[in-house]
Amino acid sequence: MSRPGPERTATGLAGLDCDPGETLLSVRDLRTYYESGDLIGGQPVKAVDGVSFDVKKGETLGIVGESGCGKTTLGRTLVRLEAATGGEVRVGDDDVTQLSGEDLQAWRRNAQVVFQDPESSLNDRMTVGEIVREPLDVHDWGTPAERRARVRSLLEKVGLQEEHYYRYPHQFSGGQRQRVGIARALALEPEFVVLDEPVSALDVSVQAQILNLLMDLQEELGLTYLFIAHDLSVVEHICDRVAVMYLGNVMELGPTEELFEDPANPYTRALLSAVPEPDPTAEIDRMTLRGTPPSPRDPPQGCPFSTRCPVKIRPEGFEDVDDETWEAIEVFRETLRARSRAERSLSEQAREFLGFETRFATVDEVVEELFADRELPGSIREPVDRATDLARDGDEAPALDHLREELGSVCDHEPPAAHGVDATARESRCHRHDDEYEEPAAVGPSVGDAE
């Protein structure tokens, strides 16, 4: 068998040689869970919790979401830096999550990563030339002379000079280091590159240079990108399609333009409306979200966004309760959730055990503060009182269960399925796309470039 060299054309993995526009990767119900190091509890962290999407050859698919949404783990799982715990990643007839031996080698050659932080991802004791050459050495690519020539041409491709070959990363600026990272990722002529926040550590003016470079390289080399970022304006600029992640799930997926113009999912809408526009005359009509995302160790049972969703569906019979009262109930539930997550120190457990007052014994104060001035109908008063009783003993879980049973809606009980939301194969996971409910756009403020 001849080793890969300059004349190599085939990738070594049949599915990778498909034509532009065809499906390169087919991700189905992918899960990546981490075992938690905890002795108590021991729930796994569900970093990626069942996502499905295709990546087409030659496109840039954006993965956006806030920290902890699982976007980085997803990227790392696709390139086999993390092991999937479920689902599959199809490339032709192969499942990337199951590859081994030579096939895995072929996948590793063809699936590369550019990391966010060029500072820590480059070995400071190697010269730039060595850093870019390393993957060629590891995969025994070509002859030594061919490798050196390849490195030189790579440096030139990413806008560095010949004389940079013998310099060290710390002699470079952030933008230049990121160019080195890109050259290294491209050394083995990959088909698929995961760009994990490649410009978020860079200044705006340098960021624009790197984005242009990435687009040029894609065009020249026919690369397929998975572009992971939290900066929505960057994603809007560079991606063909976008997947919006929240708590390990893809909430919305579709062509960039449509998604930004008229976001369908309540989470996408909240996210877009939170971005400050570089226009001081823009009117701010924002859906400010309450609280922080729940722990991926203990995601909500129904919709992942249900603990913060500003347009969450009310359960039947409660549609007429005034907004503030209903908000108070959601805050009550959020407070109990936060308490159930809080660690109790040993001394606190001891105090509780001995019957001393602890900081956890104030659930009545919380209820007092939230509901004292409100007229509560019996259908709300009763479950709140019962939950208060349950929580008073310091165990919030049964209280939360009770509230969910009595005051929860479809959003609390069932994970929403993906609905097609327009003609462009866009899908969004939200119960509001069911015919019996009003669409998210009809109940929240207007969001998107469209208006």
Partner: protein, 376 residues
């Protein structure tokens, strides 16, 4: 517009200095290293009126954070403020104060919120303890009274279940909650001026939105003046009344926020605004500013932006531009808009303009030393 008398006021004379809560003049903060002296902040002037938010925007290395630390009296050796620098807060000169005197400034009038809340919070004390300490130091509260006030402050900054959380440790707080706690600590000393150094940069965008909303509410409630430092033009557009753009230790442009975005005059500001993807919807390629920000390690004898400036001409490498008013037809108050660029004032010929910069830049009494520079 006010008179043209004094050299340092030539560009910035928008208001009589005493009217403003904070007045920074010719601030120069340098850091001495073995090899060189870095002029991190190199002769900048600006002021902040009561209740006003001034944005300080720039890329890394522009000197915006050092400016904040200089005002807070947090520049330690090997850094120092050069003798001509002046920082007046509420009429009082802050440069040259002893550490103890500065303590009272930090505790009384000026408070700061940093990018990383963990740099302010001590991990071994509860959040409540730390706010209570600030309260005892600055307001003389103690015991139950202090605890109650701490809870109240945490509620003010939107921390739910504050009565419980007051006894938690910083690590039990999420990033956004920590930043709220730091803001609560800042409020504990009842400041008039809040310096926010990239307070939302490390936060997710939905959390950033919460914090910006909180700051706006607090500003209104307490009549705070805010110096808001960020690299994010979107945040600038949202929170600021006026903006100063920094580049390599200098303020290169200063204007009311709408004027700055609609009518940027300095080539750097223009480039900066154009390299933001969301200002270029639909464009295939982003406009860029080629090259990188230089490290200012010598007194400027040229325009520091010249190597990257698409409009640079010969004199740009010989004459150091000073802030000058940049007249525009649309702006009602042209005195409020200054740019440090040899292209201005626009109504003068190129030579006149260059001469004016050369004279203003020359040390007092030295005459127009450099006036030959532009004729080459």
């Amino acid at each position: 517009m006010v008179a043209d008398s004094s050299r340092s006021d030539a560009g910035t004379a928008a208001e009589p200095a005493d009217d403003r809560l904070l007045e920074v003049e010719n601030l120069q903060t340098v850091f001495h290293t073995e090899r060189e002296t870095i002029r991190a902040v190199d002769g900048i002037s600006f002021g902040i009126a009561e209740g006003e938010t001034l944005g300080l925007v720039g890329e890394s290395g522009s000197g915006k954070s050092v400016t904040a630390r200089s005002i807070m009296g947090l520049v330690d050796s090997p850094g120092e403020l050069l003798p001509d620098s002046s920082i007046r807060f509420d009429g009082r000169e802050l440069t040259g104060l002893s550490e103890t005197q500065y303590e009272s400034v930090r505790g009384g009038g000026v408070a700061m919120v940093f990018q990383d809340p963990l740099s302010t919070l001590n991990p071994v004390y509860t959040v409540g303890n730390q706010i209570e300490e600030a309260l005892s130091l600055h307001r003389g509260l103690s015991g139950l009274e202090a605890t109650e006030k701490a809870i109240e402050l945490l509620e003010d900054v939107g921390i739910p279940d504050a009565a419980r959380r007051v006894s938690e440790y910083p690590h039990e707080f999420s990033g956004g909650m920590r930043q709220r706690a730091v803001i609560a600590m800042a409020l504990a000393c009842d400041p008039d001026l809040l310096i926010c150094d990239e307070p939302t940069t490390a936060l997710d965008v939905t959390i950033q939105a919460q914090i910006l909303e909180l700051l706006a509410d607090l500003q209104e409630e307490h009549g705070l003046s805010i110096l808001f430092i960020t690299h994010d033009m979107g945040v600038i557009a949202e929170v600021c009344d006026r903006v100063a753009v920094m580049y390599a230790g200098e303020v290169v442009e200063q204007a009311p926020v709408v004027e700055l975005f609609e009518n940027p005059r300095h080539p750097y500001t223009r480039g900066l605004l154009r390299s933001i993807p969301s200002t270029q919807r639909g464009a295939d390629r982003l406009e860029t500013i080629e090259g990188e920000v230089p490290t200012p390690n010598a007194p400027a004898t040229d325009c520091r932006f010249a190597p990257r400036c698409p409009e640079a001409f010969d004199a740009c490498r010989e004459v150091h531009p000073e802030p000058v008013p940049v007249a525009t037809e649309t702006a009602d108050a042209d005195a409020d808009h200054t740019a440090a660029c040899l292209l201005y004032p626009e109504d003068e010929t190129r030579e006149q303009a260059v001469d004016r910069h050369a004279i203003e830049d020359a040390p007092p009494g030295a005459g127009a030393v450099d006036s030959g520079g532009e004729s080459r």
